[in-house]
């Protein structure tokens, strides 16, 4: 059951949080004061967190650029094309 909550925890954290936790784990392991079992546990968590961070970095690659405008008081999205943007300038 505890494993389950830990797993859920990881899926919900944002990138900053995951990165922060990873940094804390690295520091903890560096001190080397944990029990072997706890160290291994933290190590596994750290590996999962770093994978999560890398995954989040790549997931972001599917976002789409937009132009946001107000037309008659309503927000309207249009695709943003850089080439067009650049030629305008």
């Amino acid at each position: 059951m505890t494993v389950d909550t830990k797993g859920n925890d990881n899926n919900d954290v944002c990138f900053e949080e995951a990165l922060g936790k990873l940094e804390v784990i690295v520091k903890l392991l560096e001190k080397g004061e944990l029990k072997l079992e706890d160290s291994l546990d933290k190590f596994a968590q750290g590996v999962a967190l770093s994978q999560l961070c890398l995954a989040k970095l790549t997931v972001a690659e599917k976002q789409i650029d937009k132009i946001l405008q107000k037309e008659q008081g309503i927000l309207v999205e249009k695709p943003l094309l850089f080439t067009e943007e650049k030629s305008k300038c």
Binding site: E16, L19, L29, L36, S39, Q63, L68, F82
Partner: protein, 399 residues
């Protein structure tokens, strides 16, 4: 007819002047003459133009904020209050602000608004929110045609092509600009998809940057629920938007660098952390293993029979020592016994007989030591080393 004292008259005039709205907050253009800064820090000078002069005072509490040293002949715009200095019966200008002419009224207004908003706490460090490390989308509020938007897009895409850019086109100068920028800021909050906003434009003159000193814009930036990075392209001067923003970038390109993480750098950093973690873990296991090995290699675990042999050897030694000690003691006892026995033997009277002495006893067995106790014809026994003589006394002779 009412006759006034001079004091009453002066106070009456002062009262009239103090009630006047224009005189309470007035801007005056003129040239500084007779400028004196006293040790107290208060500044006294005359402001003049071709038509007239007015005595002017700027107290230390105000003059300490001047970023330049006023000099005679300098043309300035002074903001302050006109009232009467009762002792001299003279009206004078009490200056709150003073800027060199040319920089003009705009910068005077800037200083005043800055003071007001600072007092409100709008620029406080505590209010500033952190910029997210990895935003899903970045909102950009700027002109769609300027160099700023191009720079932001170029830098952002180079650093992380996957982070979405959402441009809200606005005018960045002119009368429409402040309203549009405020609308854009509020729209992004309503839209809810951008994690951080860049508000800015390329560099320009103070007039061109004016929208970013507009009170509405500054307040909207401070009030934005999404963190804002200001990017008004000028290195040295700060707009009020810069003070209100959560981060200030000197240029639009720099804003993009602040807001968009370099994906390669970030991945590298995460991999470095991962490697570090592995190294630390290895070190931990190595250290634990070392401690296990140390225990395993201890003599006790390594050669338990040795431990037994040691004990046995020790027991043998002890036993040997026991026997030795016992023998020594026995010899010592024997020795002392023989000494005692010898002493005893020397004391034995019979032993004396062997050397030729003898013991004389009466028939009753009494040892004779004194001739006077013995009478003639008495029979005596004489003990020799070998045998006994029975004798009769012929005569005695006393000592």
């Amino acid at each position: 007819m009412q006759i006034f004292s001079i004091g009453d008259l002066t106070r009456y005039i002062k009262h009239i002047l103090d009630r006047d709205r224009t005189l309470n907050s007035i801007y005056v253009r003129g040239e500084i003459s007779n400028f004196k800064r006293h040790y107290s820090g208060h500044c006294y000078f005359t402001l003049k133009d071709s038509d007239a002069t007015i005595k002017t005072v700027m107290f230390r509490s105000r003059s300490q904020f001047l970023k330049y040293e006023p000099r005679d002949g300098m043309k300035v715009v002074v903001g302050g209050t006109v009232t009467v200095f009762e002792r001299d019966g003279q009206y004078q200008l009490y200056a709150d602000h003073m800027v060199p002419e040319g920089v003009g009224e705009l910068s005077l207004a800037y200083e005043q608004l800055k003071e007001k908003l600072t007092a409100e706490g709008l620029f406080e460090e505590m209010r500033k929110r952190p910029i997210p490390v990895l935003p899903r989308a970045v909102g950009i509020i700027t002109s769609p045609t300027g160099a700023a938007v191009r720079d932001i897009i170029t830098v952002a895409k180079r650093r992380h092509p996957g982070i979405a850019l959402i441009l809200f086109p606005v005018q960045v100068q002119g009368g429409e600009a402040p309203g549009q920028i405020v609308d854009a800021l509020q729209s992004f909050t309503a839209y809810g998809q951008a994690d951080v906003l860049i508000v800015g434009r390329g560099g320009g003159s103070l007039e061109e940057l004016w929208a970013f000193n507009d009170e509405r814009v500054v307040r909207a930036i401070a009030a934005s629920q999404i963190p804002v990075v200001s990017a008004v392209g000028h290195e040295t001067d700060f707009t009020l938007a810069d003070f209100a923003a959560d981060r200030r970038a000197a240029t639009p390109s720099q804003a993009a660098e602040i807001v968009v993480p370099d994906i390669h750098e970030l991945s590298r950093y995460i991999r470095t952390l991962e490697n570090l973690m592995g190294t630390h873990m290895q070190a931990i296991v190595k250290e634990k293993r070392r401690r296990v090995m140390e225990c395993r290699q201890s003599a006790a675990l390594q050669r338990p029979m040795n431990l037994l042999a040691d004990k046995q050897q020790q027991a043998d030694l002890l036993r040997q020592r026991l026997i030795q000690t016992m023998e020594q003691q026995l010899t010592a006892k024997k020795h002392s016994f023989s000494i005692q026995a010898e002493k005893l033997a020397m004391l034995n009277p019979l032993a004396v007989l062997a050397r030729g002495y003898s013991i004389t006893r009466t028939s009753e067995g009494q040892i004779v030591c004194d001739a006077s106790q013995i009478s003639n014809e008495q029979e005596l026994e004489i003990l020799l080393a070998q045998g006994v003589l029975y004798a009769r006394v012929c005569s005695t002779k006393e000592a």
